[in-house]
């Protein structure tokens, strides 16, 4: 039994209603822990005064420079003593989850046992960077909890100016739209940067995220410095039986309104079966799926941008091609300092099948981070650095050739010196000739 609860009239109001209540969970923990009695008092004080009262500091584990988020209370009495003394320290351990956030219950129960013993008993699954967040631990217990978590085979995530914990979608494990082994890429890339995760020494944070297709369920293009997005080069695959089944269920109105007219590049057309192009008519880039015995949906794969919409609507009838791989976009980030940025396409396509393919991805990541470490200003994200130095300088720095897929449109102003034009054309032509 713990000490008596502080009154929590504000938090009490968050116990009603149908959605699972975090307050009820906190109160359950407070039955046995003075620590959580004071955490509730601390949080109620924030609700009453509408301000936060945790400050950072320096807490860590032996050998690592990051991964623990230290929190010390700022609610003090006139003598400078903590008002909620049992919750004077409330540190978080960031732990990297398995790719795809799969767990067996033995592992989750072990986390619970360790955290009941050494911590608050409060675990967030998961933080916005993808960490298992073991929330609430005293300075004294951080190392003890970490030792046991580490013994389980789990490692700490990133914090501060470091490579951060990553996320990958469920992908190949359960999704027919997966275009590469997301879990493998995730593990390979992140585990190549353990030193940069555990000993923060970069200009600022660097995030990787892995999504298996353009649906980008991991929000990689916007939320990561380097986004690996699955795609394919050949034709959309089709299944006549499932196409007919879809059409019988949904009909022409839905086909036109929800599929054909929503294609962003007008790559879809409805055709009479006898008029459909394809390999037989010398149009190898055309794929088509039967809707019934006389009509087909025809896809011009040269116009398709792999947006995923038609495949999302007609799953099974349509599917990504077989020549799969990934596109790489660099420079996504949120508001501060210069405003939200989406990543920029820098590698339109790379294969990700063999170990060598995956090694190339790791090499690209290493080259990018080396360039970032050398060239970014303090507290400058990769996207901000590219904005400052220009995409061409960045590409030359990491040794990637320019490609028209990297822009929405060419330059709209004449403010550029072009006296190297002829040399550049000659270089491109020589490269083409050599290829």
């Amino acid at each position: 039994m713990a000490k008596p609860m502080h009154p929590t009239p504000n938090l009490d109001q968050l116990e009603s209603g149908p959605w699972p209540s975090f307050v009820t969970g906190l109160k359950r923990l407070a039955k046995d822990k003075d620590y959580m009695v004071d955490v509730l008092g601390h949080l109620e004080h924030s609700y009453q005064t509408r301000k936060g009262y945790w400050k950072g500091g320096t807490v860590g584990v032996i050998g690592y420079g990051g991964g623990v988020i230290p929190r010390f209370t700022e609610i003090k009495n006139e003598k400078g003593e903590a008002v909620f003394k049992d919750a004077a320290e409330f540190h978080t351990l960031r732990i990297m989850p398995p790719p795809g956030m799969h767990y067996d219950t033995a592992t989750l129960r072990k986390f619970c046992d360790i955290w009941d013993k050494h911590g608050s008993g409060l675990i967030a699954l998961h933080g916005q960077s993808g960490d298992i967040m073991m929330q609430g631990c005293t300075t004294e217990n951080v190392q003890k909890a970490w030792d046991e978590i580490n013994e389980m085979g789990f490692d700490m995530g990133g914090a501060g100016p470091a490579v951060r914990t990553s996320m990958s979608c469920v992908g190949a494990a359960r999704c027919e739209q997966s275009c590469y082994d997301e879990a493998k890429a995730h593990k390979n890339v992140i585990n190549a940067f353990l030193d940069d995760i555990h000993r923060p020494a970069l200009p600022y944070k660097f995030k990787f995220k892995f999504s298996g297709c353009g649906n980008d369920c991991m929000n990689a293009i916007h939320r990561s410095d380097m986004a690996v997005i699955g795609t394919w080069r050949d034709n959309i695959r089709t299944d006549a039986e499932m196409g007919k089944k879809w059409f019988a269920k949904h009909g022409m109105n839905e086909l036109v309104n929800d599929v054909v007219s929503r294609c962003p590049t007008k790559a879809l057309q409805i055709k009479d079966a006898k008029d459909v192009r394809g390999v037989a008519t010398g149009d190898a880039h055309i794929s088509s799926v039967a809707l019934n015995d006389s009509q087909c949906l025809e896809i011009d794969n040269k116009d398709c941008v792999r947006c995923m919409h038609c495949i999302n609507v007609m799953t099974g009838a349509l599917a990504p091609g077989k020549d799969k791989g990934a596109s790489i976009l660099i420079g996504g980030k949120s508001h501060l300092k210069i405003g939200s940025l989406m990543g920029t396409m820098v590698v339109p396509f790379m294969k990700l099948e063999t170990d060598e393919d995956h090694e190339k991805l790791v090499e690209l990541a290493k080259t990018t981070i080396d360039f970032f470490a050398e060239n970014a200003l303090e507290h400058e994200r990769t996207g901000e650095m590219i904005e400052r130095i220009g995409l061409v300088n960045f590409l030359e720095g990491i040794g990637l050739d320019i490609d028209a897929n990297m822009v929405t449109q060419p330059r709209m102003n004449p403010y550029v010196r072009t006296d190297g034009w002829d040399d550049e054309v000659a270089r491109i032509n020589a490269k083409k000739a050599a290829a």
């Binding site: 009603s16 209603g17 149908p18 959605w19 699972p20 975090f22 969970g25 906190l26 924030s46 609700y47 509408r50 936060g52 945790w54 400050k55 032996i62 990297m96 398995p98 219950t105 989750l108 129960r109 619970c112 409060l122 675990i123 967030a124 699954l125 998961h126 916005q128 929330q135 970490w146 030792d147 580490n150 789990f154 490692d155 979608c169 190949a172 494990a173 359960r174 999704c175 027919e176 995730h186 593990k187 992140i190 585990n191 353009g214 649906n215 980008d216 929000n219 293009i221 916007h222 939320r223 309104n257 929503r262 947006c307 995923m308 609507v313 099974g316 599917a319 501060l336 939200s340 507290h379």
Partner: protein
């Protein structure tokens, strides 16, 4: 007494395979299609003929160990002891036997975990730490989310939206909650209040000066002590100076307001990914239930649900109807503060004669 210090084993990200449900592991990379037999259930079929039903349920994200053990008990009973989590803190149970689906749903609901969040429903709000743990929060996250999910519970459990609807909350303008169809983000309205006695001891002043997006911060001397001052005419109250310099207090119980943003989209489906746009601000930080925020979010969702066509995300819907009608339909005022004047903002102005009447 000195104990032997244990060195960390730098093991990195663990292999996912040992944690995966056996049917997923067996069919990895070999799935054919999926459908949704009911809200909250995904049914995937593999080329091998194997099938798996995934039952998705909402959680409170910040979970006590009792809650996690309860979720584990359910997994041991129905799902061969395996679960996974989605990016929006939903838990998923995979079962290879269709007969287990209904009893599993019943067990989850009986324990207070709503089943839903799939397809064209409103999924759980992606959220941050807030007052519970963050060092710079303007508001709470878990509380805002709890009050919104209570109000929109029906939309989580049913697939009645035009397309999927993703929400996020963020307790400062760093926006850890990320892009969303609707995002609730703190918007400060007053410059930081500076504790000049503390600045020199706590803050690395050149770093703080460099953080300001509008170069409004400069070194100064106050009462003979080195400190920083803010040009309040330039300051747009973003709060970027506060994390590196806590004596520059930006959070204010009255003047830190909440803003609503719409039309963020991460998917490449149909249009390209989009950055969300601010459509409302000045909402009070009204703990513990934030009724004013809930009202605006509810009104936007109501208008979207009533007017968007199938498969239109919030951004697609607004692209079709145009911004004037968005403000008309949601009843939100279009104020001068919503006309962008940050860098690159000319591209957000209407340079055409395109008007919808």
């Amino acid at each position: 007494m000195a104990q032997a210090q244990r060195r960390a084993v730098e093991c990195g990200v663990p292999d996912a395979a040992p944690f995966m449900h056996p049917t997923l592991l067996k069919n990895k990379g070999n799935w054919k299609y999926h459908d949704r037999p009911r809200p909250g259930v995904l049914h995937h079929v593999a080329h091998s003929g194997d099938q798996v039903w995934s039952v998705r349920a909402g959680t409170q994200r910040q979970m006590d160990t009792y809650t996690i053990r309860t979720l584990c008990d359910i997994a041991d009973k129905f799902a061969e002891g395996h679960v996974r989590f989605t990016i929006r803190s939903n838990i998923e149970y995979m079962v290879a036997d269709q007969k287990k689906v209904d009893p599993l749903i019943a067990e989850l609901e009986r324990n207070g975990f709503p089943v839903g969040g799939t397809g064209n429903s409103m999924s759980m709000v992606a959220h941050t730490q807030g007052w519970l743990h963050c060092d710079i929060p303007g508001t709470d996250a878990s509380g805002v989310v709890k009050s919104m999910m209570d109000a929109l519970y029906h939309e989580f459990k049913n697939e009645e939206m035009p397309n999927r609807l993703h929400l996020s909350t963020s307790c400062c303008e760093i926006n850890c909650g990320g892009q969303a169809d609707i995002a609730v983000i703190i918007q400060h309205t007053k410059p930081p209040k500076i504790n000049h006695d503390m600045v020199a001891n706590v803050c690395e002043r050149p770093t703080v000066v460099a953080r300001c997006p509008v170069a409004a911060i400069r070194p100064a001397m106050v009462n003979g002590k080195p400190t920083l001052e803010v040009d309040e005419k330039k300051c747009m109250c973003c709060g970027a100076c506060y994390p590196p310099c806590p004596p520059m207090q930006i959070n204010d119980p009255e003047n830190s307001k909440l803003a609503i943003w719409v039309g963020g989209k991460n998917a490449n489906a149909r249009g390209k990914p989009q950055i969300m746009k601010m459509v409302a601000s000045g909402l009070p930080n009204n703990a513990p239930r934030w009724p004013e925020v809930n009202k605006v979010v509810g009104d936007i969702i109501k208008a979207y649900k009533a007017d968007a066509r199938p498969w239109e995300r919030m951004a697609d819907w607004i692209d079709r109807i145009g911004w004037p009608r968005f403000f008309e339909k949601t009843g939100l005022p279009f104020t001068k503060y919503l006309i962008d004047d940050w860098r690159g903002s000319r591209s957000s102005l209407n340079a055409s004669a395109h008007i919808r009447f």
